[in-house]
């Protein structure tokens, strides 16, 4: 039996490394596009101020990029060491997108990134601009492949399980690459990167204004960043809604946890502000909230685009019996947790039988048993992961963490809409530099936007627990047989070393910001 401490240690380590990695990725995604826009402006106007501006933000981009380099590699190490069952089980589904990402990242970044930095005055303006755009687009395309792999874990499709190898095999590449989960996850994640970049540019520019320096540079930066940020934040609302629709179909338990919803109804309200009752469990009658202000029928609309539709709660999902539309749009009746466990166990037993007889020398007997086992496995494979669960409680994610992270993300999203509208208004009125309170708020908004971006991933990843692959493989079946002590050791090494390096990297970043655009010595 695998100790839960090993599972917890492996999860903690993965969460730490993934969140650390996501500190750098969003700025790369968004700032690259903003820099390309600034450079396009320079090429069109031949105004040297735009060139200086492009070069300064490119410097910040490079520092952020260097900080982020290799922080993602550790995640791949963890797959092989801490999550070996999972890594084997996913087969090519994870390998193919990651390999494509690696090739893309290598060629796009080593070629065009170098031209972007070393090419000022050495290549034509047009080729330099093209390289900047390709670097920015390349980073976003790289993100697409990573998010394809993540989306598949949230909603597996386009694969066939091979019981002889215990691996999932890809049967529909385009179905995986363009699944609704992939598209919503990509658009929402990338747009959050755009918002991060816009807020960072505005924050740093406002810091200059607060110090009474680089006024023209800052005003230009803020003007473009605020429009870019407004575009991102409004599109985030649209993609957030699409994400909710997708989650309602593919991960109803996650949606219920996001809302702290235990009993669903037709016309389910959406909790705007709320405090969860810490005593509430799925098997008691406590009220789920100590306090809440809800939007009537809001969740039904958010999940199904229908104000009167039914949204199941945690208890409904455990008990089953309600009608729902599956990810293919077919109407079905939900089966209870206990039946899912039975079917999961049938699938596991069928796999065991298959493994036992696949090399049996008696051909007739082997073919008969394998055929039956295969049939049982195919009929029940969609619940394979439930065979590892014993108590309904194990199928429920951490409700408070999911609930509050979702609210932090949404509230900060709302704050950024207001912030960017005010920013745009003050800029139009040409009074932004005089409004000290706003300049202070803009600097404060920089850490807030990172909290918002991280909170979004906490909702996505904590909310899908206990699954590494939705319904097919829970975390306790995914981990390797390594010792928890080993995992904690690497956890501590990683935390100490990378925090130290992060301090060094941040010092470089702050020094460059202090020097400002006049500190750039490119041609």
């Amino acid at each position: 039996m695998i100790l839960s401490s090993l599972v917890d240690a492996s999860r903690m380590q993965f969460a730490l490394t993934a969140m650390f990695h996501w500190l750098f990725v969003p700025l790369t995604l968004g700032l690259g596009i903003l820099i390309a826009i600034f450079e396009t402006k320079y090429c069109r106007t031949n105004d040297e101020s735009w060139k200086k501006l492009t070069q300064f933000w490119s410097r910040i981009f490079a520092i952020n990029f260097a900080c982020g380099v290799a922080t993602g590699i550790i995640l791949e190490f963890e797959f092989g060491t801490n999550w070996s069952n999972y890594s084997w089980f996913v087969g090519d589904i994870f390998g193919a997108p990651l390999a494509i990402e690696g090739i893309f990242a290598f060629f796009m970044e080593s070629t065009f990134f170098a031209v972007m930095y070393f090419g000022w005055g050495k290549v034509s303006k047009g080729f330099h601009l093209l390289s900047t755009w390709l670097t920015a687009i390349g980073a976003n395309i790289s993100a697409y492949w990573i998010l394809t792999a993540n989306a598949w874990m949230q909603s597996p499709s386009g694969v066939a399980f091979n019981p002889a190898t215990a691996r999932n095999e890809m049967v529909d590449f385009w179905g995986i690459v363009f699944s609704s989960t992939t598209l919503t996850k990509f658009s929402h994640s990338v747009l959050s990167g755009f918002l991060v970049a816009a807020i960072v540019v505005i924050g740093i520019s406002c810091w200059y204004l607060k110090k009474g320096r680089n006024k023209d540079f800052s005003m230009r930066s803020i003007k473009y960043a605020s429009v870019f940020g407004l575009f991102a934040v409004f599109m985030l609302m649209v993609t957030g809604h699409s994400s909710a629709v997708t989650v309602a179909r593919t991960q109803p338990m996650k949606l219920a946890a996001m809302e702290g919803l235990y009993r669903g109804e037709n016309g389910t309200p959406l909790v705007g502000i709320g405090v969860l009752n810490p005593k509430k469990q799925y098997d008691n009658d406590e009220d789920p909230y100590l306090f809440n202000i809800s939007i009537p029928k809001g969740l039904s609309f958010l999940a199904n685009m229908d104000f009167d539709s039914y949204v199941p709660g945690i208890n409904d999902i455990i008990e089953g019996g309600y009608k729902y539309k599956d990810k293919n749009g077919e109407e079905k009746t939900a089966i209870p947790f206990a039946e899912k466990v039975d079917r999961g166990n049938m699938a596991r037993r069928a796999l065991a039988l298959y493994g036992q007889y696949k090399d049996d020398p008696d051909t007739a007997k082997r073919n008969q048993i394998l055929s039956q086992a295969r049939q049982y496995l195919d009929d029940n494979f969609e619940y394979f992961g439930y065979g590892f669960l014993k108590d309904p409680k194990e199928s429920i994610p951490n409700v408070p963490m999911t609930f509050y992270s979702f609210r932090i993300m949404v509230m900060l999203g709302g704050y950024f809409i207001l912030f960017l509208l005010v920013c745009w208004y003050l800029l139009k009125k040409k009074i932004i530099a005089e409004k000290k309170w706003f300049l202070f708020l803009a600097v404060l908004s920089v850490p807030l936007v990172y909290i918002c971006a991280e909170a979004g991933w906490v909702v996505a990843e904590v909310g899908r627990q206990p699954w590494t692959i939705q319904d097919l493989l829970p975390v306790q079946a995914s981990v390797s047989g390594v010792s928890a002590g080993n995992v904690w050791t690497t956890f501590i090494i990683f935390a100490v070393l990378f925090t130290t390096l992060l301090v060094a990297e941040l010092r470089i970043a702050f020094n460059q910001i202090k020097k400002g655009p006049e500190g750039i010595k490119w041609n």
Partner: protein, 69 residues
Amino acid sequence: MNAARRIFNFYRDGFRNMDVGKSLWLIVIIKLVIMFLVLRIFFFKPELSSYKTDKEKAAHVIENLTKND
């Protein structure tokens, strides 16, 4: 050959003229050394690498996925 030399010179001059980039490269190299020469070798050994063939790896995973706990 000319093109290759121009590309080589382009990169060489670019690296030579870096200012803050030198510190960044140093940090990147430290990170990669820690990753591949310390963490990978001593701490992050892929569990399934102890099995030689895919068949053995599959058998090990099937055993893990089907054992009663």
